[in-house]
Amino acid sequence: MARQSEGVGYNRPRLALHVPEPKYRPGDQVDFSHIAVPEAGAQPRPDETGPASETSPLCTDLVRVLGEDHQAHGPWDPRLAPEQLRAMLRDMALTRAFDERMYRGQRQGKTSFYMKCTGEEATSIAAAHALASDDMVFPSYRQQGILISRGYPLVEMINQIYSNRGDKLKGRQLPIMYSSRAHSFFTISGNLATQVPQAVGWAMASAIRHDSRIAATWLGEGSTAEGDFHSGMTFAAVYNAPVIFNVVNNQWAISSFSGFAGSERTSFAARAIGYGIAGLRIDGNDPLAVYAATRWAADRARSNNGPTLIEHFTYRAEGHSTSDDPSQYRSAQEREEWPLGDPINRLKQHLIALGEWSEEQHTDMDLALAEQVKAATKEAEKNGILGHGMHHPFHTMFEDVFEELPWHLEEQADQAIRERQIKWPQS
């Protein structure tokens, strides 16, 4: 074995595998001072019709609008009217109130599962406000804020979560896997990142038809490791598809920190440049930055200047889902120490600083929203909760597999109905 004593590799340290490790584990003191938080307003805003390469410096920077003084700064300030700011604030607060109640509903056994988006409300809601209402969105499971922004009825959302007889998806889908064609909200899949090339295909179709609508998709930073992300980025670049990729970098993919998706080497936005796509890395807890970046990318797409990837730098404030306990793998201090704060509080403080909002108004709004969610919950519960028998009829299980029921599914539907009669002869 010549390899041992001579030639390539001789007299070098042995190879060592690098396995990423998050900075803080349960019980650790958290210090986020290593996260560079640039001054709000300091980032340049290139023309949205320019070449993708011009966005390169912004892929490792952090576009911020709202400063410590709660005022909007710099060229990315979208200069929104107070009514629009209040509408965004309301949608974010409503989403948080909804999450709180549904989480409790799951704990009370009314449904099997729930996922909150606490701390990430801006990444869906401010973006939805910046898109046209008929732009098609291809969300992951943590963008319930888009549906709420688009006025989808809360009762319908709860019906879906309870899988009851009012559920428009007929109890077929796991809670929160919403779908609403009427709200240009694509059916959510449990399979991660599959929506990315689909959004690109939808955008290509819109371009083939000379339509004016664009597509936007969301995925977590963990899901960027899936092959579908690469496929989607490649196709979007090749066909200059009018699409926006939103990578919600909330630092955690269940128990894996973002290092397992490659964050130790570069930003997620920086990946855009390699594909020839414009990239923006933004403060995901700054609703004005999210709005402005989405508007920039939407204008770029709508004017045939191509796709954009936006990395929303944010923090998943809660557990991954109702089946997850984050205290098992990360320090509870992280949430408190997160340097970019809370998106709802930041917008609230901004409106107060503008003289367009007050603590009293905010408290009143929160109370009213909690009442609204409570009323919707009561309304939905009339249609039943999970496991209480008020579900869709058995034969609906066999419908929509195909457009028409083939013979083998007809036979199986008969079997299911027979089994039901054996189990409940009285019914």
Binding site: S180, F186, P197, Q198, G201, D228, H230, S231, P406
Partner: protein, 332 residues
């Protein structure tokens, strides 16, 4: 068969502005098997175009196009290379209608050359139909003649469900009787090669009676229809041969009627045996025709190995393997 497929695509591109043809090398070049030759020139680059080499991407964007309202016809260059697109096919295309309660559909037809007999080795010979027949929400079609290829492809493109359309490449240029050492005859001398001009469709879910007979029922599809037919002819067996054409949904009535008449059944496919589609066919025949059966159902299939290169003809379920099964079934 290549011309028939090209003709079907041409007709559907002409009839329906929503039809989009795409895949690796399908555009300017016209496809590695020439199935899309001339179509880009005729319909333009936004109707017929080349794609990056990414099966996941091809199927994924087709799902998105279908959600928009187009009717994409993506091509996967070889069925052996469909696997990177499986998540998009199984988790997405097949389930879109179901999980959205009909709000979104995937009216796409995935065309892909399949099957062996061409010295394609491990990755140009596979018959992965059983992967797709096992997925609820997908339809799977395998034509065996130019006439059927055109009519079935038109029906598949018009169908609002996702269809996997496997084209047996061994019979692209002419029928194949299993005698690899004989020269291949072109389709033009074959009665099933007469392809009517213009639009026609053949309903999915209907088998074709290749030959009526009394001695036994042969269930086959693709290349194996021709091989089984030739062996039965040579051996003078009065076989009833059903070309299934569509595996899902299956023409169960035609199968039951035939087996009830003959009392014997042989299932033939190129794909590997274990958990192959033949197992489903044998189980169905056993369940539904048990009291008519006079012998156990025979399965004639490829062996449970990857498709070999040099030993192709030892692997392929050719005349000897089919002949043995016939003898066994008929008690010779």
């Amino acid at each position: 068969m290549i011309e028939a497929i090209n003709d079907a695509l041409d007709i559907m591109l002409e009839r329906d502005p929503d039809v989009i043809v795409m895949g690796e090398d399908v555009g300017y070049f016209g496809g590695v098997f020439r199935c899309t030759a001339g179509l880009q020139e005729k319909y333009g680059k936004t109707r017929v175009f080349d794609t990056p080499i990414s099966e996941c991407g091809i199927i994924g964007v087709a799902v998105g196009m279908g959600a928009y309202g187009l009717r994409p016809v993506p091509e996967i260059q070889f069925a052996d290379y469909i696997y990177p697109g499986l998540d998009q096919l199984i988790s997405e295309a097949a389930r879109l209608r179901y999980r959205s309660a009909g709000e979104f559909i995937a009216p796409m037809t995935v065309r892909s050359p399949f099957g062996g007999g061409i010295f394609g080795g491990q990755t140009h010979s596979q018959s992965p139909e059983a992967i797709f027949t096992h997925v609820s929400g997908l339809k799977t079609v395998v034509p065996s003649t130019p006439h059927d290829a055109k009519g079935l492809l038109i029906a598949a493109i018009e169908d609002n469900d996702p269809v996997i359309f496997f084209e047996p490449k061994r019979i692209y240029n002419g029928p194949f009787d299993g005698y690899y050492d004989h020269p291949t005859k072109p389709w033009k001398d074959h009665p099933d090669a007469k392809v009517p001009e213009g639009y026609y469709s053949i309903p999915l879910g209907k088998a074709r009676m290749v030959r009526e007979g009394q001695a036994l029922t042969v269930l086959a599809y693709g290349t194996m229809v021709h091989v089984a037919e030739a062996v039965c002819r040579e051996k003078g067996v009065d076989a009833e041969i059903l070309d299934l054409r569509t595996l899902v949904p299956l023409d169960i009535e035609a199968i039951e009627k035939s087996v009830e008449k003959t009392g014997r059944c042989m299932v033939v496919h190129e794909a590997t045996r274990t958990s192959g589609f033949g197992a489903e066919l044998a189980a169905l025949v056993q369940e539904r025709c048990f009291y008519h059966l006079e012998a156990p159902v025979e399965r004639v299939t490829g062996f449970d190995t990857p498709y070999p290169h040099s030993l192709e003809w030892a692997y392929f379920p050719g005349p000897v393997r089919i002949g043995e099964a016939l003898d066994k079934l008929l008690g010779a």
